[in-house]
Symmetry: C2
Subunit: 358 residues, 2 copies
């Protein structure tokens, strides 16, 4: 299987194709890390094809395949079911791709493909219970209304989950974000939400849920895997690797985004998250990673929301490189150097922020 997005560019300048994607797909400016819940419009967006036109009045989610009782759920049906609201940190599996050498040609994220939203929806598991999964069902396939070509294959965006993941209590069919109906770009009128997984699993503009007796082999299932080259069967990308980011301190130069900070006491702050376990440690280095100190952690958040951290720094005049590193509850820590992979996925190298203290 080949795709135009499976090529690489040498280090350095960004192609016109990458620019077209960067102009469409929004990152979260890192000062957005100051909010517990990312305001609408600052959350990252990655949209493979076009944002579909959608009419909530006629929209249905079809539940079929290997089920005993196929269902067709309207938006009023979904809204009449029990509702849950939960803050969830979502990150694009391609975050950090533009830092790789050579650079896989796709959406050129630096570090900003993240956001935390308060999603409201109804749990999927009881719906699957009512539909009655057949004993031979091994996966649920989720298909969106967004249609296009990728890797030479024309398809509706689709992804699958193993039955056990799809049946988790916290997997939702979400129809609101931050207390308002989903805006078009977040999957209006309804999307899947898979807390803890990279964003590719949370299929937007959800049209169909299909119980399948075989593992799904669609393009998007193939594309999101860690592999050395195109022929490597690879390891599927699932849960979000740990990462901490800081609000860049001081103020920026417009074009270079170089940071200037006044000397003296300064509170560095940011957020950290992991899709596998709670964040248990955040360390800060003010000398490029030679020496580290523990940051103070904020209260333990909801299971899949980012955790705040802060660190008091006495900034002395001169040039400094700030670095931040997270470790989660199963002991996974961010690497100082990024291992490379073919599609540039699941990168979580530490953030480095050069600052000039005056």
């Amino acid at each position: 299987m080949t795709g135009t997005d499976a090529r690489q560019a040498p280090s350095g300048d960004i192609t016109q194709e990458e620019l077209q994607l960067a102009a469409r797909n929004h990152g979260m400016p890192l000062e957005g890390l100051r909010y517990d819940v990312t305001p609408v419009g600052l959350h990252y967006l990655l949209i493979h094809f076009d944002i579909p036109a959608a009419d909530a009045a006629t929209w249905t989610v079809e539940v079929g395949g290997r089920v005993e009782r196929p269902m067709s759920l309207t938006m009023p049906d979904l809204r009449a079911r029990p509702a849950v609201t939960m803050p969830v940190t979502m990150e694009c599996a391609g975050n950090g791709r533009a830092r790789l050498h050579p650079r896989p040609l796709s959406q050129p994220w630096l570090a900003e493909a993240v956001g935390t939203a308060a999603w409201t929806g109804t749990p999927l598991a009881p719906i699957l219970g009512e539909a009655g999964l057949a004993p031979e069902a091994v996966e649920l396939v989720f298909e969106g209304a967004d249609h296009g070509v990728q890797g030479g294959i024309e398809h509706d965006y689709g992804r699958s989950l193993p039955v056990a993941e799809a049946m988790r209590d916290d997997v939702l069919l979400a129809y609101e974000v931050n207390g308002m109906p989903l805006p078009p770009q977040h999957g209006f009128p309804v999307r899947l939400l898979v807390p803890g997984w990279y964003g590719m699993a949370s299929v937007k503009w959800l049209r169909r849920v299909v119980a399948s007796a075989e593992p799904f082999t669609g393009f998007q299932q193939w594309a999101y895997a860690i592999r050395d080259d195109e022929d490597d069967p690879g390891t599927p990308v699932t849960r979000i690797e740990p990462r901490a980011l800081m609000v860049p301190p001081g103020f920026p130069e417009f074009f270079t985004r170089a940071r200037v900070l006044d000397s003296g006491r300064c509170t560095l702050e940011g957020r950290a998250w992991s899709g596998r376990a709670a964040i248990e440690r955040v360390e800060v280095s003010a000398d490029g990673g030679h020496t580290w100190a523990d940051a103070a952690l904020g209260p333990l958040p909801a299971p899949y929301a980012w955790r705040s951290w802060h660190y008091e720094w006495d900034a002395a005049p001169g040039e400094h490189e700030l670095v931040v590193r997270a470790t989660d509850g199963i002991g996974d820590a961010q690497p100082l150097e990024q291992p490379w992979n073919h599609h540039g996925l699941a990168n979580n190298m530490v953030q480095r922020v050069p600052v000039t203290v005056r």
Copy 2:
């Protein structure tokens, strides 16, 4: 006056600095042209420095300088005043910059730096009336809370308007967008809104309104001008030049954004706008600009909102280049080729959309 953003790059690849800006500053995906009012989160954003942290409870807008009665307006003060809601199309003066050869180094917009929002606020003119402009006042200077360095100069973002423009009925201090409080990225808690002008005039995070006896000479006033080179005094950028854009038809390839469309009858649609006069004509070409036909125009919108258009096209199999061109009520039409200027401002070359009809 020199700025790192006043250099140019040869045609071709995008620098890392431009990518950093593109990852922060959101464009409107062009399928967003289907909405009369752009949903929150799809409107373009251009933020020179960082999004400031703002507390509406303590925020004030100071009105001072050459006035008889200086004022300090809190958010409750502003909300207690008469409120107006109006749909306004806003466009970044740098839209289209990345299509120039050589390419001025700044935010690398293609064509997506636009949006139409329903802004709510209170007119500025009565406030200036109450403050009492001194006879010697010639301009109002508007300063935001966003702080940084550009062109080697550290400053709060600031821009001025001549008194006559500032006193227009439709110039607002806006505190809501699309019926909700401004989100942080749109200037929370209050911004200036100057309908018809490129976005640089609508100062966000508004802190101070200063009546001045001399023309303002701040960096941002200098930077937004059409000039041949850095030493050219240039012509200030003010009102939005006419432009039409179409929703790219069919569906895209993920990486190249190349469009594929099924043959047969197809409705091409989009929006057109101008800051100087109503849109009176939109023409469509399906052969790269050799022959043109008039599109049907939607109802005349509010004075500064974009106008819808559509065109029925019988798409025959093969390769086509769609082009769209707007003309406004004072006879200004979009150029087929873009005249170059030093900062890459006020570009409004026609949009060209290659499509493969199958």
